[in-house]
Symmetry: none
Subunit: 186 residues, 4 copies
DNA sequence: CATGAATGAGCCTTCATTCAT
DNA sequence: AATGAATGAAGGCTCATTCAT
């Protein structure tokens, strides 16, 4: 069924291209018309591929989550020590900082605007749980609290990037966290 | 003589009462009409006290920021050891978790929606810088990186509280962070 | 009854002062609040003296009409020839051009906005008829058509002052009309 | 393929049909909803064709101005004597008196309401200059003052038609003006 | 008399969504 | 499949007017 493949592939193309548009203006501020224009299609076409703005966004969340994970696993390898694994993670985040930052902002904004209509076991929670789980697996820490701690720190960095005036040096932060954790784990 | 009202005091009352309404539905989703209704006034009255929805929200940010800081300082005291000071901070955050969580969500959502028009005299950056400065003072750490680290961690916790399904035990987290930092500072 | 005199006198003061405010922003665009502010009173006071914006404006029309006529008659005298009388009229108009222009604009705007609610024998028609009658009396022409013609020309000048880019020289125009009429009347 | 409509042609249709609606209630008093309803479309459609109420009106001005001129030239011919040309003009105005009267009222009202924002690239001045120029060409008078005089008189008639209770006989007025001018030009 | 806080209907405009072509 | 014209509910905001003080 080649038609369906095409259809599906095109859908994902649109999805991926739409990320920058969403990021630029925000979920609530960008209009379907602007989205369509930015993608080079008509609003009608947009609605041919996605039933609604909300659904489009939700699919984007899902798609990006998968992509992010795949990208990470593709280049992460399996370093022998926890320190190295943490460093690898930080490098990855540092490299994609801008991307992740945009994602968090967008996810939060969407969550705020739609939480009234979103069921509790929504795509969001499951998606994030999946991600955190994957990361925990990668780090292979005996104590889950450590994985949580690292992730936590990462989220925190992203947030600070938004509100603080000074830009953050991820490599520095990674070094700091490594030192701290190594000291603690001993 | 007009009706007797302390304009400024009433304004702050409205501001404070509006927080829960904003938190409930989000900045973008709540309407001025709903806000007015929730506050028990007419839309006209709302506009009598605030020039616009955006201005109202910005004033809310400022007011809450001040209140939060005052509240904290009022009960923080000045414990002798860093560990205790950190614990005090965590207890405070734990006690007000819900509040802070709502604030962060709201700030982020607003930032997303209005970032196009918020380039410079951004009440946000200055407000957060002020807060972080105050916290750094309180902790009295020689190395600013430590203060940053703690704050960072706090923001991270807040974010995780939003996306993770499991609720977070702040006391546990505080204990963990304390241990980690003590290990590192030695 | 001195109180009433004061009240009435103050009312006329407000009326006269309000003319410039109306002229500056237009009847439809100026708000009662702006009007009050410009007059140095509160909106409540405004409504103490005038039952509504519309009534205020209508009183202004009446008052200005009377003033204009009085002013004219005060300085018009009674020149022996028609030519001189016409010239006197034109000088008067030229001297108060700006004033008259503002009046016409305002009257027209008001008429447009309120014509749906204004009865046919409204203050406007009667007021203008009174004015034209007075002018016809002054000119003492045997043929009413001449008086109409002159008035007509005057209205036309006012209108052109609005729409044409070049400013109009009233003295020149007066001379021209005089020549024309003299030629015709012979 | 979208619904088949000639966007530009439909726009002009809406424009032309909107004139009566504007004329009936005035620029400031009619609402976009009323306009839409009167045109048999939704407000959304109105905004699909015109960016704003003001822009819609400005386009109407331009369009009517062109139409008026075209209509006149189409039936004016080129009579040999000035007297006849003036008469032709007057006949044209007489025939369309109602139309022109409405236009002047509307233009003036709009000018009043928006003059604050209409400082320079004022479609009004240019439009009127164009018209006066065309008329001057048509009359072929050596002395521009004569053309101005005639136009002036016409505007005046229109204004009087608004404020005077008695209706005006255009043919009579035309005869009068002809006589006067002929007397003067000799 | 004077004040200005309060009201709420109503305005212009936007935008997700539908549907004829 | 693709287009973009059409819809209309709903949003932010204004403003003449009222009324408690």
């Amino acid at each position: 069924m080649p038609k369906i493949v095409d259809h599906d592939q095109y859908r994902k193309e649109l999805l991926l291209k739409s990320f920058d548009l969403f990021a630029e203006r925000g979920y609530g501020s960008i209009t379907m018309r602007q989205l369509a224009q930015g993608l080079g299609v008509s609003t009608g076409t947009l609605y041919h591929y996605f039933p609604s703005k909300q659904a489009l966004f939700l699919q984007l969340v899902e798609e990006l989550d998968r992509q992010d994970l795949l990208n990470f696993l593709a280049e992460a390898g399996n370093p022998p020590t926890l320190t190295e694994r943490i460093e690898t993670m930080f490098n990855f985040v540092a490299k994609n900082e801008d991307n992740f930052c945009k994602q968090v902002l967008l996810w939060v904004e969407f969550y705020q605007q739609e939480k009234a209509e979103l069921t509790k076991n929504n795509a969001f929670h499951s998606s994030w749980d999946k991600t955190t789980q994957a990361i925990a697996d990668y780090l292979q820490v005996p104590d889950k609290a450590i994985a949580d701690f690292v992730l936590n720190y990462l989220y925190g960095l992203l947030m600070r990037g938004i509100f603080e005036t000074e830009t953050i040096s991820y490599p520095e932060q990674a070094t700091l966290l490594s030192k701290i954790l190594v000291a603690y784990l001993k």
